[in-house]
């Protein structure tokens, strides 16, 4: 076994991927972190308090984990879902009753989305009650608030996609609330959101594109900043 590992780690391919020895000494253990794309954000030191589960409740990590689940299940749902008035509802029903594991994936996406809204909110409460928004971390609190808003918007835009009665009237009501924005901007914003005056084909495609592309991309970029700053401040 040892010789297998040894001969494997001595191949040119392995050594080009992992340019340090096995993590057997303090030096190579540190290198394993520094030279790994996924781990390089780690802080050099972690305070004992911040690995205490009853301090963070792991809520930030749970939110990020749910986001990964939602990206994977959402990406799979996209293979069967077509965002058009004629097809959206039937595609959703096909996912539930015809496609193998479709019901499972759709439910996972739906419950994951509900859970993410709840967990992100709890994460925000935790940060608030532990005073973790105080200097020098104010900016990361602001990034977090924007991420919270994006989470809500993702939840809201996804709500229209099944194109059932709940979805249709939910979005009708929501975009009518937008009309209350003063200075004549409400009508304009509502028109831009819906791509028209009523919830129709344009609105469905717009919400789909926002839900599957623009909002997740914004979330990923901000999450990168958010995690990087958390770790530079000694968090996990």
């Amino acid at each position: 076994m040892k010789t297998v590992v040894k001969s494997l780690t001595e191949t040119r391919v392995w050594r080009s991927m992992f340019r340090h020895g096995l993590p057997l000494s303090n030096r190579t253990r540190a290198e394993a972190i520094f030279y790994n794309f996924f781990l390089h954000l780690h802080p050099t030191k972690v305070r004992k308090r911040s690995v205490n589960i009853t301090y963070t409740w792991g809520l930030g990590g749970l939110s990020a984990g749910l986001f990964v689940i939602l990206v994977i299940t959402g990406g799979l749902l996209m293979f069967y879902y077509r965002p058009s008035v004629a097809q959206a509802y039937n595609d959703m029903k096909d996912l539930q009753f015809v496609v193998s594991s479709g019901q499972f994936l759709r439910n996972m996406h739906r419950w994951g989305a509900h859970a993410m809204v709840a967990i992100v909110f709890l994460h925000m409460l935790r940060v608030f009650y532990t005073g973790a928004y105080r200097p020098p971390k104010e900016f990361n609190w602001v990034v977090g608030v924007v991420l919270f808003v994006i989470t809500i918007l993702l939840s809201y835009t996804g709500y229209l996609l099944p194109w059932d009665q709940l979805a249709y009237w939910g979005i009708s009501v929501g975009t009518n609330m937008v009309r209350a924005v003063p200075f004549g901007l409400g009508e304009k914003i509502s028109y831009l959101l819906l791509g028209g005056h009523t919830v129709g084909e344009n609105a469905l495609v717009r919400f789909y594109v926002l839900h599957c592309f623009f909002l997740p991309v914004c979330a990923v970029v901000l999450m990168g900043i958010h995690f990087w700053r958390v770790r530079k401040d000694g968090g996990v």
């Binding site: 009237w169 009708s172 009501v173 009518n176 609330m177 028109y191 831009l192 791509g195 009523t198 129709g200």
Partner: protein
Amino acid sequence: MEKPENTKPATPSFSRRHFLELLGLGAIGTTALGGLVLSGEYLSPNVVKEPPTRFKIGMPEDYPPGSVTKDNEQRVFIVRAKEGYFFALSAVCTHLGCIVNWKADDGIVACPCHGSKFDREGNVIAGPAPRPLPHFAMSLDEQGVLVVDKSVIVGEDSILKV
């Protein structure tokens, strides 16, 4: 070697470097602003395929006296209160835009979303609706067909007498 004195020219208040910086930033800024404006215009549809706001809604005989008939596509009630007495009432709730229903048993118009209630003339009886349902202009064309124009809002006293 002697160091020549005063080789450094006195920094002018507006240097060439500063000028070029401003020029570059200005160019980037103008392009970015233009892109933003064009993107905004791109996202605002110039043509929307929605039903026309002026439409025919049938012959007066199609509506018995005392009837309230909803057209779901146009979201409008055609009310014939008595013989030869027509008006068109919006079926879009003034609260948050749900489609209201005529409850013939109670003689009221009710919204399924948040419970607003209106009388047959569109006045608010109950619920969160802030305004009465608007009336739309109604007319008869040359063939005697009823025409509704949703782009023209008229008062409650505006009645089409046939």
